[in-house]
């Protein structure tokens, strides 16, 4: 069974500019790995930007923020027993693409899908202000969805999500795809 939210995923791309990282479940990634991985991607593609004569700082900072947010979500929602995370990134002609795969418990995946239904149905800027106001009224809310809305509204990123479950009760495979023209 598969469900889909947001933009379509690209056809499998063969790229020499790509990075592939697989963090296996025997050594599950932690929160601090998100920042370290985002730093790594940001610094790596900042060098590519410098070579191509593009804005290095915008590239490094943009990739750092976006990769960190996507990875924080993957770590936050990962399945306790199937904690593997796969990351694929590309940076070509100023466009950053990131694809992340993780696994989630069915109930966690269902909650996430309910959130995505709302986040992808309306203008992200309006929705962001509304959600911040709602979060402020309720201290138990940690600003859920705010990260996704900042990526879409503040960075102009387009994001798609795909949920795949082969059998009831089994971990749900969550694929996230982000694409954004970071620099011209």
């Amino acid at each position: 069974m598969q469900s889909h939210y947001g933009i379509e995923f690209p056809e499998a791309a063969d790229s020499t500019e790509g990075v592939k990282l697989a963090l296996h479940s025997g050594l599950p990634p932690t929160w601090s790995n998100c920042g370290a991985t985002a730093d790594f991607l940001g610094n790596l593609y900042a060098r590519a930007a410098a070579r191509a004569g593009k804005n290095v700082k915008e590239t490094r900072h943009g990739i750092n923020y976006l990769a960190n947010e996507i990875l924080e979500n993957a770590v936050k929602f990962r399945h306790p027993a199937s904690g593997a995370i796969e990351i694929e990134a590309r940076f070509q002609q100023g466009r950053f693409e990131l694809q992340v795969r993780n696994y989630a418990e069915p109930a966690v995946a269902a909650n996430f899908q309910t959130l995505l239904q709302e986040l992808t149905s309306r203008d992200p800027g309006e929705l962001m202000i509304e959600r911040i106001e709602a979060n402020a009224m309720d201290d138990t809310q940690g600003g859920s969805g705010l990260g996704i809305l900042t990526m879409m509204n503040d960075y102009g990123a387009e994001i798609g999500w795909r949920f795949t479950q082969t059998q009831d009760g089994e971990p749900v495979q969550v694929d996230t795809y982000l694409t954004v023209q970071l620099v011209q």
Binding site: H61, E72, D139, T150, D154
Partner: protein, 112 residues
């Protein structure tokens, strides 16, 4: 009041709170000590509170949520003003700080 780690430093001086480094904490609970510095300042009801973010290189969305929540707290106090100082040298600030002004139009936002 000061909080200092390998990653970031937050301190207050007069009615200004300064932030420096990289803040990518995982939850509102982790941001609570930083929030406490800000709330303490608000409790003293100065005429104006300033947040100086010009040294804050990286901030995750949980951190943006912290500043958004604080902006709303100050908005509730009719007699306390709020100034936020950022820099165009740090890309996230030009992108995300204008959201605070949408929450509280009287906020004095300077991104220089």
């Amino acid at each position: 009041m000061e909080i200092k780690t390998n990653e970031y430093r937050v301190w207050s001086d007069g009615s200004t709170v300064y932030y420096e480094g990289t803040m990518r904490l995982s939850s509102p609970e982790d941001y609570a000590p930083i929030q406490a510095i800000m709330n303490e300042m608000l409790a003293a009801k100065p005429a104006r509170i300033d947040l100086d973010l010009t040294g804050l290189e990286f901030l995750n969305s949980s951190g943006i949520n912290l500043f958004a929540k604080f902006t709303i707290e100050v908005r509730k106090q009719a007699d306390v003003g709020l100034g936020v100082k950022g820099t165009t040298q740090i890309p996230w600030q030009s992108k995300s700080l204008p959201n605070l002004k949408k929450l509280f139009p009287a906020l004095d936002l300077q991104i220089v």
